[in-house]
């Protein structure tokens, strides 16, 4: 698994780190500020797109993504890649977003020092939020909420239905008080309702229509009466006019007993002739006449004839008017007769029902058999009998109005009863939904709680086992995580601690115990969900664990790491580093990586091998304060060097069949000194850059000096303390440290690396293009 960073946080150019996932666990050691959290942030950035440790920090409004960019670079330069089994996922920043390419089916879970106890110390509600992904069944939560919402809505609907029913009942009460015959019904509203509803709506409608029709015909009779009556008068008048004009015409015609009308046209032409010509001779008989006189006579004749013509026209017009009046009267007669016919029909239909006591129709209406019967005399008769129609009209109007009210009343009563009926039925449905919904909701709720508690019980069992593995025999039993029995989304955390039941761990345990509890809970939770595709990063999460518990914790983490894709533990805990290097903590299935000191120019660096130990040794020797640190580190450096020497010269070392081979310094010493010809032959040439040998150092005296001091290292630097009191610790440690550094200076190059190359075929030399160290001999002398 390879993580590559560019322009990310403390990385100014590029930095890559390989994790050997064949080992389950990587211990990433680094002093404070070396970049451990940068690496965990890089994991989170490339997998989740989050800003890692910055997520929960206040940055005073500054963009979190922006703060991930190295101070000397631009956002476009930032790039993080993670490669697992030849698949690569890359993350960059584009604008205000993280852009990913590539897919890795892995998830990253980081537990930092700051968050380790959050799960334990938080409120039950916040604790639940953190664990709900593990214990919640989303569908159950959702449907329980949905049912609850439905029940609340239906309860409101039930109230509305009750109000509707009450309102409808009030309407019935009002209608009863307003319309019911109190003498007949008293307080018996139900009986009144039944009677109202007993009459069929169709029957009421039919009777209503009959009376409505009769009423309409009576009104039409009344409205059209005057028109028809007036038509008689109009006709009489027209007839009179015609008669008068006819008489006038007759008189005019008799006064003119010749066919002057026929001569009218001739006289008109003569008139025109006399006006145009000035002749005094008659155009007919050629006699001399006074044309003026003749013209005057023609004019007089024409004038008299014109009167006839005009009168003739008048007579004609009068005749037309009379004709028109006759037609109009005829039309009105027919129309009125139609009304009478309909009226008789409507009256007959009404009488047939026998529901009303209707007075008879007036005789005039009864004997009118055809339109022509509706003469002026008939009208006079009808007019005389008109008053007899009034009672009929009043009864019809009254009964019509009564039927209208009855129909409306029946409609309102039916509507109110229907509302009551529907609301009652709907109310039953709503009550059913509420009651059954509550029952189903309880089933879902119980299942949700049961599932969550079973899951939490398993998790509790697991983390309790983990915790007991670190703190055996500490009277902490049954620590459990469980849902509050009544409060939703509330996770309780307690146990039997030191004999006290339902005790809160937060109250009774120390900070370091709470840390390990939090760590165990974290591990138990993360094991639940696809651990084989999970990378765990414990970022300085074990800082507070004391030495007494460190080994157990370490072994536990090693066992638990097997469940996950990979586990990385970062730490600045020096004891962990030393214990790991001493082999007191198993190196089986563990990889150890060490970050060097960070600087603005170099960024993050990885250190490895003895060179880092050498730097520490130099510092400790310079400080001259801690004999055990000096002795420890000297021992580590010596282990590497002696392991290298015994390796390249194939020295005999003790072998333990069937076990991992681990040698002590004494074993290495025996191996080297056992090769009689080797030690005296060991020498190292120091060369300058031009390849000139500047000095040659024999290694035997340096090694002998160191071998003589190995007891010091064992006494002071190891866990054996029995001999410690026999030594002046600091001076002896310093002497060992300085002797070791002398050997390093003699054997290693400027980078403190060993001469482990033999390309020239005659010596071992250092790596790189410039050879500054040559170790002889190439082979062990036989």
């Amino acid at each position: 698994m390879k993580l590559e960073l560019e322009a990310f946080r403390g990385v100014n150019e590029s930095f890559s780190i390989n994790f050997n996932t064949k080992q389950n666990l990587t211990v990433l050691y680094g002093e404070n500020g070396s970049g451990k959290t940068t690496i965990s942030d890089a994991f989170e950035f490339v997998i989740d797109g989050s800003s890692g440790s910055l997520e929960e920090k206040s940055l005073d409004g500054k963009s979190r993504l922006g703060q991930l960019v190295n101070a000397r670079c631009g956002a476009a330069d930032l790039r993080v890649s993670l490669t697992i089994q030849n698949k690569t996922r890359t993350a960059k920043i584009s604008g205000s977003k993280v852009v990913h390419s590539g897919v890795l089916e892995k998830q990253i879970k980081v537990l930092s020092r700051r968050n380790i106890t959050k799960l334990i110390e938080e409120t039950p509600a916040n604790r639940f939020k953190r664990i709900q992904d593990f214990v919640s069944i989303t569908a159950l939560d959702r449907e329980e909420t949905s049912l609850n919402s439905l029940i609340l809505t239906e309860k409101k609907n039930l109230e509305s239905q009750a109000k509707l029913i009450a309102q409808a009942r009030e309407v019935l009460v009002d209608l009863f008080s307003q319309y019911a015959d109190k003498e007949k019904y008293g307080d018996r509203r139900q009986e009144w309702q039944q009677d109202i509803l007993a009459e069929s709506g169709e029957s009421i409608a039919r009777n209503f229509n009959i009376l409505d029709d009769l009423d309409q015909q009576i009104k039409r009779l009344r409205d059209d009466f005057k028109r028809l009556a007036e038509s008689h008068t109009a006709l009489a008048k027209a007839a009179e006019t015609y008669e008068r004009e006819t008489k006038a015409l007759t008189k005019l015609i008799t006064e003119h007993n010749d066919d002057l009308a026929k001569a009218f046209e001739t006289l008109q032409h003569a008139q025109t002739y006399f006006k145009v010509s000035g002749s005094d001779v008659c155009p007919v008989c050629d006699s001399e006449v006074g044309h003026v006189t003749l013209a005057q006579k023609v004019d007089r004749k024409l004038a008299s004839l014109k009167a006839v013509k005009e009168q003739s026209q008048k007579t004609k017009d009068a005749k037309d008017a009379r004709q028109k009046a006759q037609t109009s009267r005829r039309t009105l007669q027919e129309s009125f007769f139609a009304i009478i016919t309909k009226l008789k029909g409507a009256y007959g239909a009404a009488a047939e029902t026998k529901k009303w006591e209707l007075p008879d129709l007036v005789p005039a209406l009864l004997y009118a058999d055809k339109p022509e019967d509706l003469s002026e005399e008939w009208f006079a008769e009808l007019r005389a009998q008109a008053a007899q129609l009034k009672p009929l009209s009043e009864i019809v109007e009254r009964e019509h109005a009564a039927l209208q009210n009855r129909r409306k009343l029946q409609s309102e009563v039916q509507a109110a009863l229907k509302r009551i009926r529907n609301s009652t039925h709907d109310g039953k449905r709503i009550e059913f939904v509420i009651k059954r919904g509550e029952a189903i909701k309880k089933v879902l709720h119980d299942e949700r709680v049961r599932h969550a508690n079973e899951t939490l019980q398993r998790i509790s069992g697991n983390f309790a086992e983990l915790y007991q593995a670190i703190h055996p025999g500490e009277e902490i039993e049954q620590i459990r995580l469980y849902l509050h029995p009544t409060k939703k989304s509330s996770a309780q955390f307690d146990g039997t601690l030191f004999g006290k039941e339902e005790a809160s761990p937060v109250a009774l345990l120390s900070e370091s115990h709470l840390d390990t509890l939090g760590l165990c809970l974290f591990l138990a939770l993360e094991k639940r969900e696809d651990p084989s595709n999970t990378i765990l990063f414990l970022d300085d999460a074990i800082a507070s664990v004391d030495e007494a518990h460190m080994e157990r914790l370490y072994e536990l983490l090693l066992d638990e790491a097997a469940h996950f894709h990979h586990v990385v533990i970062s730490s600045h805990y020096r004891n962990l580093r030393f214990k790991f290097r001493w082999g007191l903590l198993t190196q089986r299935s563990v990889e150890f990586l060490e970050l060097g000191a960070w600087s603005l120019d170099r960024g993050l660096t990885l250190t490895k091998g003895p060179s880092s130990e050498v730097k520490f040794l130099r510092r400790y020797v310079e400080e001259a304060e801690h004999p055990s640190a000096i002795a420890n580190t000297a021992g580590l450096v010596l282990e590497n060097i002696l392991d290298f020497l015994t390796g390249i010269y194939r020295c005999r070392l003790p072998r333990t069949p069937g076990a991992e081979q681990r040698w002590t310094l004494d074993d290495y010493r025996s191996g080297l000194t056992g090769e009689k010809k080797l030690l005296p032959s060991l020498r190292c040439e120091h060369l300058d850059k031009q390849g000139t040998v500047r000095r040659t150092v024999d290694l035997e005296p340096l090694l002998e000096d160191i071998f003589a001091r190995l007891q010091v290292r064992n006494a002071i630097g190891c866990h054996f303390k029995e001999l410690a009191g026999h030594f002046n610790e600091i001076s002896e440690a310093l002497a060992l440290g300085e002797a070791t550094l002398s050997l390093v200076e003699a054997l290693c190059d400027e980078e403190d690396t060993l001469p482990d190359r033999k390309k020239d075929g005659c010596s071992w030399h250092n790596r790189g293009s410039i050879v500054t160290r040559r170790l002889y001999p190439l082979l062990k002398p036989e």
Binding site: R142, E143, F432, I440
Partner: protein, 61 residues
Amino acid sequence: MTLPEPSTARIRNAFTSESLLDVDASEEVIKAFAHNKEINWNLILTKQFEIEQKDSDEAGT
């Protein structure tokens, strides 16, 4: 997380043993859980009401 099998079985059993839903409705709900689909409880319960109402009416007649 979808409904695990033990939860499905318990819910189905509760629906039928307590006569909360008839078989078809119960299966409809279980199927919705299996596919993580939202359930229209109003429809389910209204149908259940009509079924029980009809059974009650038939029993009464």
